[in-house]
Homo-oligomer: 197 residues x 2
DNA sequence: ATCAATTTAGCACGGCCGTGCTAAATTGGA
DNA sequence: TCCAATTTAGCACGGCCGTGCTAAATTGAT
């Protein structure tokens, strides 16, 4: 009894990555248990042994992506200059590498699929919450003494700016990443100096 | 000969609006010639008489939405204060009303569908171009004397901020629209005063 | 009233979908 | 070696899909 004590979790992650690949290459409309199984190189039955239903597959994939991003960010070592540190973190939210690029693409796709898979809205809300908290942390990182009533708008502005730049970088690949980083650095510096006002 | 000299264009717009409704209510995954025809209250054959193929329906719907937004914006009367005027325009890009809210939702959905309907990327690029030009116009509106090398980053920042706020308003409905408008006004005022620096 | 063009409606085909279900292959302890 | 549990594979069903195609209904000029 007990064959392969098995790496179910590893299998799950393989399948989630296969789903991401399908989204990036063929769009969210091409996501099906069949296409994902084929992309992962397994039979449909095998996929359904791990994810009995399509919705579970999609929700897990979304959650795993959020988890990956969180881990990637918490793994960033502290830098001497707070602005450098904050910028280094914010950089992870921009689609600058193939990985983060795919991440944003998949996020938007799942966002659009939410009406069809209601469980996705919960994941989306948790993602939003994590982002909001993160932006607030970045503000207190560069301007620890900023009173809350001034920190909140600063966090909102930083978040909007970062998200907007992310969209721009994704939509028009000719937009220079350096410009995006420069705008972010300027914003962070300005927030850091806002203490005096 | 010649029955109903007919309002083909009106019919097209009806069908496009039906498609938007389907996207908003059931997600882009639910968009099919059948579902759209049913939403519009016509037979599939009738829809296919006007849009022979699914792709044509989707592309037309996307183009019509861009066209509508452009018209809505060019119809805005001039205001005395440049900042007020620019803010009034930027406001049209935020999902503050059911219409603009649906507009953004549909835009994102079509964005996600682009890999499946290659012709959509052209529409997306034109939309991006129009937005870029619009943001630049807003900057020159509030700061006419700003040299180009300073106007470009200002336009990028304004665009990113607006797009980011739009995403935020769409994703978390509890985010106060007043905060978004306040941030935009502050940004516009800052740009207007940047001339002196 | 007639008629030809246009519009509307609908059928039918092959294809992909999700999923319930059963059979085969694989595995490590006995 | 053998076996029972687990994993993998696959079939089959009903459903929705896009689209080619033909038939019916509708129209305005004659």
């Amino acid at each position: 009894m007990v064959p392969r004590l098995i790496d179910r979790d590893a299998r799950k992650e393989e399948l989630a990555q296969a789903l991401w690949t399908v989204i990036v290459q063929r769009g969210v409309g091409a996501v099906s248990v069949r296409s994902v199984a084929a992309q992962a190189g397994v039979a449909v039955g095998s996929l359904r042994h791990v994810f009995p239903t399509r919705a579970e597959l999609i929700v897990f994939s979304a959650e795993l992506m959020l988890h990956r991003a969180e881990q990637r960010i918490t793994a960033i070592p502290a830098l001497a200059d707070p602005v450098d540190h904050a910028l280094r973190i914010a950089r992870e939210l921009l689609p600058l590498t193939p990985d983060t690029r795919a991440e944003l693409q998949v996020n938007l796709a799942l966002f659009a699929e939410a009406p069809a898979v209601p469980a996705l809205t919960a994941v989306r809300d948790r993602t939003q919450g994590a982002l909001t908290a993160l932006y607030m942390r970045l503000v207190t990182l560069v301007a620890p003494d900023l009173p809350p009533e001034a920190a909140q708008p600063a966090a909102d502005r930083l978040g909007a700016l970062t998200d907007g730049l992310a969209m721009r970088l994704l939509a028009s690949p000719d937009f220079p990443p350096a410009d995006a980083l420069s705008l972010l650095r300027e914003e962070l510096t300005r927030t850091a100096n806002a203490k005096a006002t």
